[in-house]
Symmetry: C3
Subunit: 138 residues, 3 copies
């Protein structure tokens, strides 16, 4: 059985990290499925999804990671051609990845105690985002 749900988000951009665990857990609990997987998918090319212990220290550390690995202040061909100024956002998104698949058992996400599901908006401006949740199971 397949259940499709969507999560709408207002994001601030610039590596805004949003905890979506509660929303995903609620959709699983209300889906009518007992066991299966939920695929969290980012429709868009300047955001990504992963898990993290959602505390302010680590959020800062994670932002520092992307600033180090994919700096905003180096030349991007994307910016030279399109003038969007968000070349770094695209590259960060491709590196982190657009999909995360999380098992659920007895209607509960199989997450660790200190593990949250997060969407990261790498774009250089506020955005309205929609994530697709594809629940598959029985």
């Amino acid at each position: 059985m397949v259940v499709t749900r969507r999560i709408g988000l207002k994001t601030k951009g610039d590596c805004h990290i949003v905890d979506i665990t509660r929303e995903v857990a609620q959709e699983v609990a209300g889906s009518g499925l007992k066991d299966g997987t939920v695929t969290v998918f980012v429709t868009g090319s300047t955001g990504g999804v992963t898990t993290v212990e959602y505390e302010s220290g680590l959020l800062s550390d994670l932002r520092n990671l992307f600033d180090r690995l994919v700096p905003t202040n180096i030349p991007y061909q994307h910016n030279l051609r399109w003038g969007d100024g968000n070349g770094h956002a695209h590259v960060r998104a491709s590196l982190l990845g657009a999909s995360l698949t999380v098992p659920f058992v007895d209607q509960r996400l199989a997450l660790g105690t200190w593990q949250q599901i997060v969407f990261i908006d790498f774009d250089n401006r506020p955005r309205s985002r929609e994530l697709v949740l594809q629940l598959m199971g029985e």
Copy 2:
């Protein structure tokens, strides 16, 4: 219901980025499944899969990312032991990841407007590749 498809590719190596969105979309449309997920899986240890806005500026930026993070010109133990010269390709592939799971709804991939699915071949020579698409749904 499960449908297995394979995509064959001729790649040039050296961070060759191939847009496979059309092939994946066609397999979804022809699968007989309406809603579900397609897992794109790289069988091999020197290639990866992700999404990106497929325009030449970003392809260049993405290649620069891997050249910065996983340079070709630093020592790799893999090269010292096996002489393949593709240690960087293995490391890049492990970092990017071998699987991507994309939802589809009404036989259409739930991608963003400017978001394509790409296979990246990190190996240091042309290759014949086969990707496995596992479609699950109803």
Copy 3:
């Protein structure tokens, strides 16, 4: 059909890379499912999952990658606030990712010849770990 399995591991920490291919393959072979996907999920925020050719040179190269990209000896806000000393482990785990989805066909994993599934424990101490395998198929 959904089959949930768990793999218990004793890990040494400090970028300990564990080959779990055999365990995953055995659970697939014994699941009663013929075709489908297995999602390997890390319950915890200081470990990740990927694929690699499991030979000692590449294991060393992969550890060097994480030492370069996410060094242990730079300041982490997580460490300043919580004193765990494992800020780098959390950041590495978020970068690598907690889920990998591998297709299986005729009860066999669709892996390349030189491609193994690995769990990487980034934490700074030995741990008892549990991975969740969610098998879906028919």
